[in-house]
Protein backbone atom coordinates (compact mmCIF):
# COMPACT_ATOMS: atom_id res chain seq x y z
CA UNK A 1 0.00 0.00 0.00
CA UNK A 2 1.22 3.43 -0.89
CA UNK A 3 0.97 5.54 2.24
CA UNK A 4 1.42 8.93 0.58
CA UNK A 5 -1.00 8.38 -2.28
CA UNK A 6 -3.62 7.42 0.27
CA UNK A 7 -3.98 11.00 1.46
CA UNK A 8 -4.97 12.27 -1.98
CA UNK A 9 -7.76 9.88 -2.70
CA UNK A 10 -11.22 11.16 -1.83
CA UNK A 11 -13.27 8.72 0.21
CA UNK A 12 -16.76 8.72 1.61
CA UNK A 13 -15.30 7.97 5.02
CA UNK A 14 -11.98 9.53 5.98
CA UNK A 15 -9.13 7.21 6.82
CA UNK A 16 -8.49 7.41 10.54
CA UNK A 17 -5.21 8.38 12.17
CA UNK A 18 -1.75 8.66 10.69
CA UNK A 19 0.28 5.54 10.04
CA UNK A 20 3.51 5.13 12.03
CA UNK A 21 6.83 5.82 10.32
CA UNK A 22 7.98 2.95 8.15
CA UNK A 23 10.92 0.84 9.31
CA UNK A 24 14.33 1.72 7.84
CA UNK A 25 15.82 -0.36 5.05
CA UNK A 26 14.39 -2.07 1.99
CA UNK A 27 10.62 -2.45 1.77
CA UNK A 28 9.08 -5.93 1.96
CA UNK A 29 8.21 -5.57 -1.74
CA UNK A 30 11.86 -4.94 -2.63
CA UNK A 31 12.88 -7.87 -0.46
CA UNK A 32 10.38 -10.17 -2.12
CA UNK A 33 11.76 -9.25 -5.54
CA UNK A 34 15.25 -10.20 -4.28
CA UNK A 35 13.90 -13.42 -2.76
CA UNK A 36 12.59 -14.31 -6.22
CA UNK A 37 16.23 -14.38 -7.34
CA UNK A 38 17.01 -16.97 -4.67
CA UNK A 39 18.51 -14.54 -2.15
CA UNK A 40 18.37 -16.26 1.26
CA UNK A 41 19.59 -13.17 3.14
CA UNK A 42 16.73 -11.13 1.69
CA UNK A 43 14.40 -13.91 2.78
CA UNK A 44 15.71 -13.73 6.32
CA UNK A 45 14.96 -10.01 6.40
CA UNK A 46 11.55 -10.68 4.94
CA UNK A 47 10.98 -13.26 7.67
CA UNK A 48 11.62 -10.60 10.29
CA UNK A 49 8.98 -8.35 8.75
CA UNK A 50 6.27 -10.88 7.94
CA UNK A 51 6.53 -13.77 10.39
CA UNK A 52 4.71 -11.87 13.17
CA UNK A 53 1.63 -11.02 11.09
CA UNK A 54 1.61 -14.50 9.49
CA UNK A 55 1.92 -16.35 12.77
CA UNK A 56 -0.56 -14.05 14.53
CA UNK A 57 -3.24 -14.47 11.88
CA UNK A 58 -2.78 -18.22 11.63
CA UNK A 59 -2.98 -18.58 15.40
CA UNK A 60 -6.05 -16.40 15.58
CA UNK A 61 -7.79 -18.79 13.18
CA UNK A 62 -6.41 -22.12 14.38
CA UNK A 63 -5.96 -21.33 18.10
CA UNK A 64 -3.85 -24.43 18.67
CA UNK A 65 -0.22 -23.20 19.14
CA UNK A 66 1.49 -26.29 17.71
CA UNK A 67 -0.71 -26.40 14.62
CA UNK A 68 -0.32 -22.66 14.18
CA UNK A 69 3.44 -22.96 14.19
CA UNK A 70 3.27 -25.74 11.63
CA UNK A 71 0.97 -23.82 9.28
CA UNK A 72 2.95 -20.59 9.71
CA UNK A 73 6.06 -22.49 8.66
CA UNK A 74 4.26 -23.85 5.60
CA UNK A 75 3.15 -20.35 4.65
CA UNK A 76 6.63 -18.89 5.03
CA UNK A 77 8.21 -21.63 2.96
CA UNK A 78 5.45 -21.16 0.37
CA UNK A 79 6.36 -17.48 0.27
CA UNK A 80 9.93 -18.44 -0.59
CA UNK A 81 8.82 -21.02 -3.14
CA UNK A 82 6.38 -18.77 -4.99
CA UNK A 83 8.24 -15.45 -4.71
CA UNK A 84 8.94 -15.84 -8.42
CA UNK A 85 5.24 -15.30 -9.07
CA UNK A 86 5.15 -12.03 -7.16
CA UNK A 87 5.30 -8.64 -8.75
CA UNK A 88 4.64 -5.35 -6.96
CA UNK A 89 1.75 -4.78 -9.39
CA UNK A 90 -0.07 -7.61 -7.59
CA UNK A 91 -0.25 -5.64 -4.36
CA UNK A 92 1.90 -5.25 -1.28
CA UNK A 93 4.06 -8.05 0.07
CA UNK A 94 2.04 -7.95 3.29
CA UNK A 95 -1.14 -8.39 1.28
CA UNK A 96 0.38 -11.32 -0.60
CA UNK A 97 1.54 -12.97 2.63
CA UNK A 98 -1.75 -12.43 4.45
CA UNK A 99 -3.77 -13.84 1.54
CA UNK A 100 -1.59 -16.94 1.52
CA UNK A 101 -1.67 -17.32 5.30
CA UNK A 102 -5.43 -16.89 5.51
CA UNK A 103 -6.08 -19.42 2.78
CA UNK A 104 -3.79 -22.02 4.40
CA UNK A 105 -5.19 -21.53 7.86
CA UNK A 106 -8.76 -21.73 6.60
CA UNK A 107 -8.03 -24.92 4.67
CA UNK A 108 -6.58 -26.43 7.82
CA UNK A 109 -9.37 -25.34 10.12
CA UNK A 110 -12.03 -26.63 7.73
CA UNK A 111 -10.54 -30.07 7.45
CA UNK A 112 -10.08 -30.24 11.21
CA UNK A 113 -13.63 -29.02 11.72
CA UNK A 114 -15.13 -31.85 9.72
CA UNK A 115 -14.13 -34.22 12.52
CA UNK A 116 -14.93 -32.04 15.52
CA UNK A 117 -18.12 -30.34 14.45
CA UNK A 118 -19.81 -30.02 17.83
CA UNK A 119 -16.75 -28.90 19.72
CA UNK A 120 -16.14 -26.16 17.18
CA UNK A 121 -19.66 -24.84 17.50
CA UNK A 122 -19.12 -24.38 21.21
CA UNK A 123 -15.84 -22.54 20.64
CA UNK A 124 -17.53 -20.49 18.01
CA UNK A 125 -20.47 -19.48 20.15
CA UNK A 126 -18.13 -18.48 22.94
CA UNK A 127 -16.02 -16.40 20.57
CA UNK A 128 -18.98 -14.36 19.36
CA UNK A 129 -19.03 -12.27 22.47
CA UNK A 130 -15.35 -11.44 22.35
CA UNK A 131 -14.53 -11.00 18.68
CA UNK A 132 -11.23 -9.20 18.97
CA UNK A 133 -9.74 -9.57 22.38
CA UNK A 134 -7.44 -12.60 22.15
CA UNK A 135 -4.51 -10.62 20.91
CA UNK A 136 -1.02 -10.87 22.22
CA UNK A 137 0.55 -7.42 22.47
CA UNK A 138 3.05 -6.71 19.73
CA UNK A 139 4.49 -3.23 19.34
CA UNK A 140 4.42 -3.12 15.56
CA UNK A 141 0.80 -4.19 15.34
CA UNK A 142 -0.60 -1.80 17.93
CA UNK A 143 -1.40 1.03 15.53
CA UNK A 144 -2.79 -1.37 12.98
CA UNK A 145 -4.98 -3.01 15.58
CA UNK A 146 -6.34 0.29 16.79
CA UNK A 147 -7.35 1.28 13.27
CA UNK A 148 -8.99 -2.05 12.61
CA UNK A 149 -10.94 -1.98 15.87
CA UNK A 150 -12.09 1.54 15.28
CA UNK A 151 -13.21 0.79 11.74
CA UNK A 152 -14.92 -2.46 12.76
CA UNK A 153 -16.90 -0.48 15.30
CA UNK A 154 -18.30 1.65 12.46
CA UNK A 155 -19.99 -1.35 10.86
CA UNK A 156 -23.53 -2.51 11.55
CA UNK A 157 -23.73 -5.47 13.89
CA UNK A 158 -24.56 -7.93 11.12
CA UNK A 159 -21.78 -6.59 8.90
CA UNK A 160 -19.26 -6.84 11.71
CA UNK A 161 -20.30 -10.32 12.78
CA UNK A 162 -20.26 -11.55 9.20
CA UNK A 163 -16.78 -10.15 8.54
CA UNK A 164 -15.29 -11.24 11.87
CA UNK A 165 -16.74 -14.74 11.77
CA UNK A 166 -15.86 -15.39 8.14
CA UNK A 167 -12.36 -13.94 8.34
CA UNK A 168 -11.18 -14.90 11.81
CA UNK A 169 -13.09 -18.17 12.23
CA UNK A 170 -12.68 -19.43 8.67
CA UNK A 171 -16.39 -20.05 8.19
CA UNK A 172 -18.04 -20.05 4.78
CA UNK A 173 -20.79 -17.45 4.35
CA UNK A 174 -23.31 -20.31 4.51
CA UNK A 175 -21.95 -21.37 7.91
CA UNK A 176 -21.99 -17.78 9.11
CA UNK A 177 -25.63 -17.52 8.02
CA UNK A 178 -26.43 -20.73 9.85
CA UNK A 179 -24.90 -19.59 13.11
CA UNK A 180 -26.31 -16.05 12.94
CA UNK A 181 -29.70 -17.44 11.86
CA UNK A 182 -29.70 -15.00 8.97
CA UNK A 183 -30.54 -15.70 5.31
CA UNK A 184 -27.50 -16.71 3.24
CA UNK A 185 -28.13 -13.96 0.71
CA UNK A 186 -28.13 -11.36 3.47
CA UNK A 187 -24.85 -12.58 4.93
CA UNK A 188 -23.29 -12.59 1.45
CA UNK A 189 -24.21 -8.94 0.92
CA UNK A 190 -23.34 -7.84 4.47
CA UNK A 191 -19.93 -9.44 4.08
CA UNK A 192 -19.33 -7.38 0.97
CA UNK A 193 -20.82 -4.13 2.33
CA UNK A 194 -18.85 -4.58 5.53
CA UNK A 195 -15.56 -5.06 3.71
CA UNK A 196 -16.26 -2.08 1.46
CA UNK A 197 -16.88 0.11 4.52
CA UNK A 198 -13.71 -1.18 6.13
CA UNK A 199 -11.79 -0.50 2.93
CA UNK A 200 -12.94 3.12 2.95
CA UNK A 201 -12.41 3.56 6.67
CA UNK A 202 -8.90 2.07 6.56
CA UNK A 203 -8.07 3.97 3.37
CA UNK A 204 -7.03 0.82 1.53
CA UNK A 205 -5.69 1.17 -1.98
CA UNK A 206 -5.14 -1.76 -4.31
Amino acid sequence: MDESARQDRPRAIRAVGTPPQPVEGPTPEELLVEVAKGDERAFEQLYDRLSGPIFGLVRRILRDPAQSEEVAQEVLVELWRTATRYSPSRGSAMNWAMTLAHRRAVDRVRSARASTEREEKATFEASRNRPFDEVAESVNARWERQQVRKCLSHLTELQRESVVLAYYQGYTYREVADVLSAPQGTVKTRLRDGLIRLRDCLGVMA
Partner: protein
Protein backbone atom coordinates in the same frame (compact mmCIF):
# COMPACT_ATOMS: atom_id res chain seq x y z
CA UNK B 1 -22.29 -13.23 -9.07
CA UNK B 2 -20.88 -9.83 -8.21
CA UNK B 3 -22.06 -10.03 -4.61
CA UNK B 4 -19.75 -12.99 -4.03
CA UNK B 5 -16.69 -10.70 -4.20
CA UNK B 6 -16.70 -10.13 -0.44
CA UNK B 7 -17.04 -13.82 0.44
CA UNK B 8 -14.39 -14.67 -2.13
CA UNK B 9 -11.95 -12.12 -0.73
CA UNK B 10 -12.13 -13.69 2.74
CA UNK B 11 -12.12 -17.33 1.53
CA UNK B 12 -15.72 -17.83 2.66
CA UNK B 13 -16.89 -19.76 -0.40
CA UNK B 14 -17.17 -23.50 -0.88
CA UNK B 15 -14.67 -25.07 -3.26
CA UNK B 16 -16.91 -25.07 -6.28
CA UNK B 17 -18.31 -21.59 -5.71
CA UNK B 18 -14.75 -20.41 -5.39
CA UNK B 19 -13.70 -22.05 -8.64
CA UNK B 20 -16.71 -20.61 -10.41
CA UNK B 21 -16.08 -17.11 -9.13
CA UNK B 22 -12.40 -17.38 -10.06
CA UNK B 23 -13.47 -17.98 -13.65
CA UNK B 24 -15.91 -15.12 -13.51
CA UNK B 25 -13.04 -12.85 -12.43
CA UNK B 26 -11.21 -13.54 -15.67
CA UNK B 27 -14.04 -11.91 -17.58
CA UNK B 28 -15.01 -9.17 -15.15
CA UNK B 29 -12.32 -6.54 -14.65
CA UNK B 30 -14.40 -4.46 -12.22
CA UNK B 31 -14.92 -7.56 -10.06
CA UNK B 32 -11.19 -8.31 -10.16
CA UNK B 33 -10.44 -4.77 -9.01
CA UNK B 34 -12.97 -5.03 -6.21
CA UNK B 35 -11.49 -8.35 -5.09
CA UNK B 36 -7.99 -6.81 -5.04
CA UNK B 37 -9.26 -4.00 -2.82
CA UNK B 38 -11.24 -6.24 -0.51
CA UNK B 39 -8.33 -8.66 -0.19
CA UNK B 40 -6.05 -5.78 0.71
CA UNK B 41 -8.66 -4.79 3.30
CA UNK B 42 -8.78 -8.31 4.69
CA UNK B 43 -4.98 -8.29 4.83
CA UNK B 44 -5.22 -5.35 7.22
CA UNK B 45 -7.51 -7.39 9.47
CA UNK B 46 -4.88 -10.11 9.34
CA UNK B 47 -1.91 -7.87 10.02
CA UNK B 48 -3.72 -6.43 13.05
CA UNK B 49 -3.38 -9.86 14.65
CA UNK B 50 0.43 -9.89 14.48
CA UNK B 51 2.00 -11.78 17.36
CA UNK B 52 5.49 -12.83 18.34
CA UNK B 53 6.22 -16.18 16.64
CA UNK B 54 7.71 -18.99 18.75
CA UNK B 55 11.52 -18.77 19.02
CA UNK B 56 12.18 -21.99 17.11
CA UNK B 57 10.21 -20.99 14.04
CA UNK B 58 12.87 -18.91 12.33
CA UNK B 59 15.53 -21.60 12.37
CA UNK B 60 13.01 -24.19 11.18
CA UNK B 61 11.82 -21.99 8.32
CA UNK B 62 15.34 -21.04 7.21
CA UNK B 63 16.39 -24.70 7.29
CA UNK B 64 13.34 -25.70 5.23
CA UNK B 65 14.00 -22.89 2.77
CA UNK B 66 17.56 -24.12 2.17
CA UNK B 67 16.09 -27.41 1.03
CA UNK B 68 13.24 -25.99 -1.05
CA UNK B 69 13.51 -25.31 -4.77
CA UNK B 70 11.74 -22.17 -5.91
CA UNK B 71 9.07 -22.32 -8.56
CA UNK B 72 10.18 -21.12 -11.94
CA UNK B 73 8.46 -17.89 -12.97
CA UNK B 74 5.43 -19.09 -14.84
CA UNK B 75 3.32 -17.51 -17.52
CA UNK B 76 0.59 -20.05 -16.85
CA UNK B 77 -2.08 -19.00 -14.41
CA UNK B 78 -1.57 -20.67 -11.01
CA UNK B 79 -3.89 -23.43 -9.78
CA UNK B 80 -4.57 -24.62 -13.33
CA UNK B 81 -5.64 -28.15 -12.68
CA UNK B 82 -7.34 -29.23 -15.83
CA UNK B 83 -6.12 -29.51 -19.34
CA UNK B 84 -8.50 -29.05 -22.16
CA UNK B 85 -8.51 -29.88 -25.81
CA UNK B 86 -11.13 -28.65 -28.21
CA UNK B 87 -11.70 -31.81 -30.18
CA UNK B 88 -11.37 -35.51 -29.72
CA UNK B 89 -8.75 -36.66 -32.21
CA UNK B 90 -10.18 -38.99 -34.86
CA UNK B 91 -8.02 -41.91 -33.86
CA UNK B 92 -9.19 -41.75 -30.26
CA UNK B 93 -12.79 -42.13 -31.38
CA UNK B 94 -11.99 -45.34 -33.28
CA UNK B 95 -9.70 -46.81 -30.69
CA UNK B 96 -11.85 -46.07 -27.66
CA UNK B 97 -15.10 -47.18 -29.24
CA UNK B 98 -13.55 -50.36 -30.60
CA UNK B 99 -11.81 -51.12 -27.31
CA UNK B 100 -14.99 -50.61 -25.35
CA UNK B 101 -16.96 -53.00 -27.53
CA UNK B 102 -14.16 -55.53 -27.89
CA UNK B 103 -13.41 -55.41 -24.16
CA UNK B 104 -16.92 -56.29 -23.19
CA UNK B 105 -17.33 -58.86 -25.95
CA UNK B 106 -14.09 -60.59 -25.01
CA UNK B 107 -15.06 -60.64 -21.37
CA UNK B 108 -18.30 -62.29 -22.41
CA UNK B 109 -16.66 -64.81 -24.70
CA UNK B 110 -13.51 -65.73 -22.82
CA UNK B 111 -14.39 -64.67 -19.32
CA UNK B 112 -15.72 -68.12 -18.46
CA UNK B 113 -14.96 -71.29 -20.33
CA UNK B 114 -14.28 -71.86 -24.01
CA UNK B 115 -17.24 -72.15 -26.31
CA UNK B 116 -18.41 -75.70 -26.74
CA UNK B 117 -21.79 -75.56 -28.30
CA UNK B 118 -23.96 -73.63 -30.69
CA UNK B 119 -25.96 -72.51 -27.66
CA UNK B 120 -22.95 -70.88 -26.07
CA UNK B 121 -22.02 -69.25 -29.37
CA UNK B 122 -25.49 -67.78 -29.56
CA UNK B 123 -25.15 -66.46 -26.01
CA UNK B 124 -21.81 -64.88 -26.90
CA UNK B 125 -23.29 -63.27 -29.97
CA UNK B 126 -26.13 -61.90 -27.88
CA UNK B 127 -23.62 -60.46 -25.43
CA UNK B 128 -21.78 -58.77 -28.26
CA UNK B 129 -25.03 -57.34 -29.54
CA UNK B 130 -25.83 -56.07 -26.03
CA UNK B 131 -22.39 -54.57 -25.76
CA UNK B 132 -22.81 -52.78 -29.05
CA UNK B 133 -26.15 -51.49 -27.90
CA UNK B 134 -24.73 -50.41 -24.59
CA UNK B 135 -21.78 -48.63 -26.10
CA UNK B 136 -23.57 -47.12 -29.07
CA UNK B 137 -24.28 -43.87 -27.17
CA UNK B 138 -20.62 -43.71 -26.12
CA UNK B 139 -19.43 -44.18 -29.70
CA UNK B 140 -21.99 -41.66 -30.91
CA UNK B 141 -20.85 -39.10 -28.34
CA UNK B 142 -17.18 -39.61 -29.10
CA UNK B 143 -17.88 -39.25 -32.81
CA UNK B 144 -19.91 -36.03 -32.47
CA UNK B 145 -18.21 -33.28 -34.49
CA UNK B 146 -18.44 -30.85 -31.57
CA UNK B 147 -17.34 -33.33 -28.85
CA UNK B 148 -15.11 -31.63 -26.31
CA UNK B 149 -12.97 -33.44 -23.79
CA UNK B 150 -11.73 -32.10 -20.49
CA UNK B 151 -9.43 -34.00 -18.17
CA UNK B 152 -9.15 -33.34 -14.46
CA UNK B 153 -7.06 -34.73 -11.63
CA UNK B 154 -8.87 -35.79 -8.48
CA UNK B 155 -7.62 -34.46 -5.14
CA UNK B 156 -7.53 -38.03 -3.81
CA UNK B 157 -5.53 -39.52 -6.71
CA UNK B 158 -6.62 -40.71 -10.13
CA UNK B 159 -8.86 -38.56 -12.23
CA UNK B 160 -11.50 -38.44 -14.89
CA UNK B 161 -12.36 -37.31 -18.37
CA UNK B 162 -15.52 -35.57 -19.45
CA UNK B 163 -16.70 -35.75 -23.04
CA UNK B 164 -19.50 -33.36 -23.87
CA UNK B 165 -21.37 -32.56 -27.04
CA UNK B 166 -23.71 -29.59 -27.26
CA UNK B 167 -25.30 -30.79 -30.50
CA UNK B 168 -26.25 -34.16 -28.95
CA UNK B 169 -26.96 -32.48 -25.60
CA UNK B 170 -25.09 -35.36 -23.94
CA UNK B 171 -22.04 -35.93 -21.80
CA UNK B 172 -20.14 -38.80 -20.30
CA UNK B 173 -17.74 -39.05 -17.43
CA UNK B 174 -15.03 -41.70 -17.45
CA UNK B 175 -13.06 -42.35 -14.28
CA UNK B 176 -9.47 -43.43 -14.33
CA UNK B 177 -7.57 -44.99 -11.44
CA UNK B 178 -9.73 -43.47 -8.71
CA UNK B 179 -8.98 -45.02 -5.31
CA UNK B 180 -11.62 -47.48 -4.01
CA UNK B 181 -14.54 -45.52 -2.54
CA UNK B 182 -14.80 -47.80 0.46
CA UNK B 183 -17.66 -49.65 2.09
CA UNK B 184 -21.03 -47.92 2.08
CA UNK B 185 -19.99 -45.17 -0.30
CA UNK B 186 -20.14 -44.44 -4.02
CA UNK B 187 -18.71 -41.95 -6.43
CA UNK B 188 -21.41 -39.69 -7.84
CA UNK B 189 -21.13 -37.37 -10.82
CA UNK B 190 -22.80 -33.94 -10.78
CA UNK B 191 -23.69 -31.47 -13.49
CA UNK B 192 -23.43 -27.87 -12.40
CA UNK B 193 -25.33 -25.06 -14.06
CA UNK B 194 -24.93 -21.49 -12.84
CA UNK B 195 -27.91 -20.42 -10.79
CA UNK B 196 -29.33 -23.89 -10.18
CA UNK B 197 -28.69 -26.77 -7.85
CA UNK B 198 -26.23 -29.50 -8.91
CA UNK B 199 -27.96 -32.26 -10.88
CA UNK B 200 -26.89 -35.87 -10.52
CA UNK B 201 -25.54 -37.55 -13.65
CA UNK B 202 -25.48 -40.86 -11.81
CA UNK B 203 -23.34 -43.03 -9.61
CA UNK B 204 -20.22 -44.63 -11.05
CA UNK B 205 -20.81 -48.36 -11.44
CA UNK B 206 -18.96 -50.29 -8.77
CA UNK B 207 -17.10 -52.94 -10.77
CA UNK B 208 -14.39 -52.30 -13.31
CA UNK B 209 -16.45 -54.22 -15.82
CA UNK B 210 -17.40 -51.99 -18.71
CA UNK B 211 -15.28 -49.19 -17.27
CA UNK B 212 -16.27 -46.64 -14.67
CA UNK B 213 -18.45 -44.48 -16.80
CA UNK B 214 -21.71 -42.55 -16.60
CA UNK B 215 -23.68 -41.03 -19.44
CA UNK B 216 -26.16 -38.20 -19.11
CA UNK B 217 -28.34 -36.24 -21.46
CA UNK B 218 -30.01 -32.85 -21.21
CA UNK B 219 -26.70 -31.21 -20.35
CA UNK B 220 -27.51 -27.86 -21.89
CA UNK B 221 -26.13 -25.00 -19.78
CA UNK B 222 -23.76 -27.21 -17.78
CA UNK B 223 -20.55 -25.34 -17.08
CA UNK B 224 -18.90 -27.71 -14.65
CA UNK B 225 -18.83 -31.41 -13.89
CA UNK B 226 -17.93 -32.52 -10.38
CA UNK B 227 -17.35 -35.81 -8.59
CA UNK B 228 -18.16 -36.38 -4.93
CA UNK B 229 -18.15 -39.29 -2.52
CA UNK B 230 -21.69 -40.03 -1.38
CA UNK B 231 -23.42 -42.63 0.76
CA UNK B 232 -23.97 -45.87 -1.13
CA UNK B 233 -26.45 -45.48 -3.97
CA UNK B 234 -25.91 -41.73 -4.28
CA UNK B 235 -27.61 -38.65 -2.83
CA UNK B 236 -30.26 -36.30 -4.23
CA UNK B 237 -27.84 -33.41 -3.63
CA UNK B 238 -24.08 -33.45 -2.97
CA UNK B 239 -23.24 -33.92 0.70
CA UNK B 240 -19.47 -33.50 0.48
CA UNK B 241 -16.93 -31.32 -1.28
CA UNK B 242 -15.97 -32.43 -4.78
CA UNK B 243 -12.85 -34.57 -5.10
CA UNK B 244 -12.68 -33.58 -8.74
CA UNK B 245 -14.19 -30.77 -10.73
CA UNK B 246 -13.69 -29.71 -14.32
CA UNK B 247 -15.05 -26.86 -16.38
CA UNK B 248 -16.79 -27.74 -19.56
CA UNK B 249 -17.76 -24.29 -20.77
Amino acid sequence: MHTLAGAFAVDALSEHERARFQRHLEECESCAQEVRELRATAARLGAAEAAEPPPGLKAAVLAAVRETVQQPPSVEPPQERSRRSSRVPRWVVGVVAAAAIAGLALAGVFGGIALRSQGELTTAQQQIAQAKERYAPVAELLAAPDAKTVHGAASIGGGGTVVMSASLNKMMFMASRLPPHGEGRDYQVWLMTPGSAPRSAGVLPAGAEGGQLVLASGVDGTTQVALTLEPSGGSPAPTSNPVLSVYTA
